[in-house]
């Protein structure tokens, strides 16, 4: 218990430090003004989300292979935390875009693929609510998770190709491209902080899922008697 609190404190602390760094340490940007600082949350959260989805994919594969409920818990946990990360990305993006470029949204390759990614993992969670039996639910969602994860790079590639046919302004430049060295340090520190925070959320959510499973098991066993 103490370890969990400590981990939580570290995670929150890191995020707080990253926020401080983003606002007070990172230098001014030439053209965009203060709003650009959202970049230190936006992109790192996206990276953390992608890492989380990768862990979800691995958990899905492991469940299909080994059939241990723990892998199912990890899968649903990572899907939820990843979805939370991507939601933050989809909200912070427009908040940045509106004052800087005057538009909330554009259908460029990265944004569109991110949106599809978000929808795919919502479908993953929705599928889980529609299968009652736990082992069936775990297997079917793991299989869908595999399909979804493999689809994501293809979606990105397809939309990027489509975009080459219909060029449009790219809203956010590549992360770390042409960044000032101090900005780079702040950025990568923020990446670390977001990953640690995501890991903390994963641990807590995983333990919650484990407890839910144990309680459900006890309830059904009591019912059977």
């Amino acid at each position: 218990m103490l370890r969990r609190i400590f981990f939580g404190a570290v995670a929150v602390g890191l995020v707080a430090c990253a926020a401080y760094a983003a606002f007070y340490i990172a230098p001014e940007e030439r053209t965009m003004g203060t709003i650009y600082r959202i970049f230190y949350f936006h992109a790192p959260t996206a990276w953390a989300g992608e890492t989380t989805f990768f862990v979800c994919f691995v958990a899905n594969l492991l469940y299909i292979w080994k059939r241990k409920p723990q892998y199912d818990w990890l899968g649903v946990t990572c899907a939820e935390v990843g979805l939370a990360c991507i939601t933050v990305v989809l909200i912070t993006g427009p908040i940045w875009a509106k004052p800087v470029w005057g538009i909330w949204w554009t259908w460029d390759a990265r944004l569109t693929s991110t949106f599809v990614l978000w929808i795919l993992y919502i479908c993953y969670l929705l599928l889980r609510t529609l299968v009652d039996e736990p082992e069936r639910r775990a297997l079917l969602s793991a299989l869908f998770g595999v399909f979804a994860f493999i689809d994501v790079p293809i979606v990105f590639g397809a939309i990027r190709w489509w975009r080459t046919q219909h060029p449009a302004p790219v809203i956010m430049g590549g992360a770390g491209s042409g960044l000032d060295p101090v900005m780079k340090k702040v950025f990568f520190f923020s990446v670390l902080a977001m990953h640690v925070f995501a890991a903390f959320l994963i641990v807590e959510r995983y333990l919650l899922e484990k407890t839910k499973y144990d309680v459900e098991l006890m309830a059904r066993e009591a019912e059977a008697r």
Binding site: I64, V116, I119, L120, C123, L126, L127, L130, V131, D132, R136, L139, L140, L143, F144, V146, F147, A148, I150, D151, I154, V155, G157, A158, I159, W161, W162, Q165
Partner: protein, 224 residues
């Protein structure tokens, strides 16, 4: 080899069943027609506009139709538990998928090819010179829709609200097919038509990747 001969026998059964009743094909064709007509109210169908929006709406109509047409795929096998009989009869469960994918691709292609002249007439778009390119695109797109759709039909047959679940799961996964097929078809309907080989490659790649994934994981989709 056993896998292919099993798949051939199963494919024959699927096709015979469908062409006996023709319920699936007829309802799918009518549905695509209705969607095309209804969508056409949303833009001014001059020839230029049709060339830009038409292919997109055509492919969307195909996708919606497919998501309904694929429903009975595995639901039919639940009626008398014939799926268990199939699983007992074949050594490799992939044969079942191969057969259903082939049958679904065929039904989709029949629908698409019947719709093509209707679409051309309604929107004054000519494509006759580009027929090979269009056929190739339709074929690769339909295979992609069938591969993913058949796999998801197996999943949704085991869940609640399956009528809603299949389109829900299918449409986001098929985003690449929609985007690329539309683009390639648009290009083929321009005054200076050309085949976008990169797009064709993307479609073929999608088909191969998901067919491989299904080959690897198909038996788990049918597991009890």
């Amino acid at each position: 080899m056993a896998l292919l001969s099993n798949a051939a026998v199963l494919f024959g059964k699927e096709v015979r069943t469908e062409f006996r009743s023709r319920e699936l094909l007829s309802t799918t064709i009518v549905f695509v027609l209705i969607v095309v007509v209804v969508f056409s109210f949303t833009f001014d169908p001059t020839t230029n506009e049709s060339r830009r929006f038409g292919p997109g709406l055509l492919w969307m109509a195909f996708l919606f139709a497919a998501s309904l047409m694929l429903q009975p795929c595995f639901l039919r096998e639940q009626t008398n538990d014939t799926l268990s009989a199939l699983r007992l009869a074949v050594q490799d469960a992939f044969a079942i998928f191969l057969a259903k994918i082939s049958a679904n691709t065929l039904f989709l292609l029949v629908t698409e090819l019947l719709m093509l002249p209707v679409f051309a007439a309604l929107f004054n778009v000519s494509f006759a010179a580009q027929l090979p390119g269009i056929l190739l695109t339709f074929f690769l797109g339909s295979v992609g829709i069938s591969v993913v759709g058949t796999a998801l039909a197996a999943i949704s047959a085991q869940a609640r609200m399956r009528e809603l679940l299949l389109p829900l799961l299918l449409l986001p996964l098929l985003t690449p097919i929609l985007v690329v097929s539309t683009e390639v078809t648009v290009r083929l309907m321009q005054p200076d038509p050309a085949i976008e080989w990169k797009g064709i490659g993307l479609l073929a790649g999608f088909d191969v990747v998901f067919l491989t994934v299904l080959w690897l994981f198909g038996e788990y989709l049918l597991e009890e």
